[in-house]
Symmetry: C2
Subunit: 222 residues, 2 copies
């Protein structure tokens, strides 16, 4: 119920936060199935997780369980929603109306659960003004500062080529955006005032290629 505020949130690992999202998914599923109470062991068995890790991850934020019983599914889900900040709407700006940016702008995962794409931008005059699937009209990247301000953008998503990613990132941060998701295969110089998360889809294929090349036998726990 009450957050243990004496632990600085900076000290909590990204790995833990990512697992909280996973636990949230699991609880949503259990809730839909009508389960009201679950133990860490049941969660672990059902979803191939580790029970001690579940308890440790949750313990960073409070005492949500009942000893001898387990966790109330609905209450724990609500706690996780609050911890992850998913109770408020997060407005997302996509920069780069190529293949990936266009897909993400109407990807259900980016338009549900508290997130909403408020604009998609591109530097190509031929793309500006065109409507993308999902209903948004591509706007000019030169309007980035105005759009960030007027639409109170929380999160910037970079899907431009690597060569222009740093400039877009700098513009986003200068415009006041505090969180950026970068899909460009570029090693960006990070600003201390904005959280930067890099996601490189191709790296995952290259990882699999490595395993195909070297592995006769490889564990499949991902």
């Amino acid at each position: 119920m009450s957050f243990k505020r004496y632990i600085p949130v900076e000290s909590i690992s990204e790995l833990t936060i990512n697992r909280l999202s996973v636990y949230l998914r699991c609880l949503q599923q259990l809730e839909q199935e009508g389960t009201t109470t679950v133990s860490s062991q049941e969660l672990a068995d059902r979803f191939h997780l580790n029970s001690a890790q579940i308890r440790k991850d949750l313990a960073y934020f409070g005492e949500f369980g009942i000893r001898g019983v387990g966790y109330n599914v609905t209450q724990l889900r609500e706690h996780l929603v609050n911890i992850l900040g998913l109770h408020e709407e997060r407005r997302v700006l996509v920069v780069g109306a190529g293949n990936l940016g266009t897909a993400l702008s109407h990807f259900s995962g980016f338009n549900t659960g508290g997130f909403r794409i408020v604009a998609i931008l591109d530097s190509d005059p031929h793309k500006v003004g065109k409507r993308v699937p999902g209903g948004l009209v591509v706007e000019s990247v030169s309007d980035l500062p105005r759009i960030v301000k007027d639409r109170k953008v929380h999160i910037g998503v970079i899907t431009v080529p690597a060569s222009s990613a740093q400039k877009v990132y700098d513009d986003l941060v200068n415009g006041g955006v505090q969180a950026v998701l970068n899909f460009a295969p570029a090693q960006l110089k990070g600003h201390p005032e904005a959280k930067l998360k890099n996601v490189d889809l191709k790296i995952n294929l290259e990882l699999l290629s490595f395993f195909l090349t070297h592995a006769a036998r490889m564990a499949a726990i991902g």
Copy 2:
């Protein structure tokens, strides 16, 4: 040239492999700029990396540098291509012709550098037979085993809803696919004979939401 050590590949971390991909990108850029030699320190400064880590990562696979000088850019790039297995073509099958699957099937990152999408499947009869941007025609998921066998699929990409992800994964592995990239927000039960890599795009937004929430709270507290 030869892999000097007989360290079992299982002992090398995914984190190291992912960084090898990053180093490869950096070297490709340096090569295009005409740089012939680079030290680990120069690489680190230029691309915001750690020089000791670069040397340690490379050392798992051999001695590629010259003491007192650094690394030959072209040679090191070639070594990384070989280590990651990018010298052979990797045939990729996308299962799920929704938003994300369609985008990935013609995403440049999935059709260059040794990777090639050979088919895209869906269970929806209305989608089967339709041509997606990029030129592929959607085929039926019921043909999965035949397609995997005939087109010698190396890597399966799952972009179906979470509820059907486990079945698709099982079918891929039973068909002989040894590497699977899963975009569905599901906790799959892994098969030991196939490498499974989970990528959940929404988790990244939720991570950023967590940081935004924390940043706001810190500002409010002072």
